[in-house]
Amino acid sequence: MEIKVLKNIMEANDAIAEKNKEIKKSRGLLMLNIIGSPGAGKTSVILKTIEHLGGVCGVIEGDITSDLDSRKMAERDIPVVQINTGGACHLDANMVYRALDNLEMENGVLFIENVGNLVCPAEFEVGEDFKVVISSIAEGDDKPYKYPLVFSKARAVVLNKIDLLPHMDFNREFFFSGVRALNPEAPVFEVSARTGEGIEAWSRWLQDIFQDLQKARQ
């Protein structure tokens, strides 16, 4: 006998993600799920962005084993909670639920730095307001074509290491058309976390969203 089920396999994860959304709402947080390859510059972009944003910012650091990135945050007195996934290639909603419990933070922007990977994190909602993909010139211009799911799910794309453009065979048009096909609405911010180029425009975009959120809350 066949029984129709028609249920999303991610149901259990998504139910906890909904709980995280409630927590985020009640604390007035803008929660970003930052996804990118290892070495794309996720931590550096987050640090530079926090410098520009000022105000209350916090970080949940997802990493397989180390706490190198969260130490960088703590050195700058940024509230940070480390999640070590112990081998898992992505953060899931339950890991973030536990991290939120350990993070004292209200009315600010919370960056969730996912495990460096363009495949698995795309599948797991953690209760974020939206996903941001951080890609970089050094990775090449074909990333949207090779990892379409994550680009299709992001609200914005940050293209980091733009200072390397003169030294690399990176076809901007090819990269941009890939993003547009998957996600016509997503803005692409070209930045260099090293030189600071472009960080202001990207931070301003975030700031505007955060302020709208705060206004809607009042």
Binding site: K4, V5, I9, L149
Partner: protein
């Protein structure tokens, strides 16, 4: 890569469903998976056989129906499947946009005894 977590989810849902309906034995599980998810059926089977041992779903067959991602042309409005390294329309060359197909990930049905 994340098939272990996904397979744990599948097994939990199937066992819940079986319990709810007082089913003694699940013999097959039919999944629908969008190709964009990158989920490999061999990986799911591998994990499933280990995880489901000594449960009512132990030894169940897993059938996966893959859905191809489809793109809609912004020029001629036709729907097409992409070729590698391009999202452009094969008919007129205009850029395509994702038609929200190929991202499915759900259990369609289970077969029980």
């Amino acid at each position: 890569m994340h098939e272990l977590a996904v397979t744990e989810g599948i097994l939990d849902m199937v066992l819940n469903e079986a319990k709810k309906r007082n089913v003694e034995r699940v013999v097959a599980i039919n999944l629908v998976v969008g190709e964009m998810t990158g989920i490999e059926e061999d990986c799911i089977r591998f994990y499933f056989d280990i995880l489901s041992e000594n449960t009512p779903a132990g030894g169940a067959k897993i059938a996966v129906k893959y859905e191809k991602p489809l793109f809609r042309c912004t020029g001629c409005d036709r729907v097409f499947e992409r070729k590698n390294f391009t999202f452009s329309c094969p008919y007129c060359g205009y850029p395509g946009v994702l038609a929200q197909k190929g991202v499915e990930l759900y259990i369609e049905s289970i077969e029980v005894e």
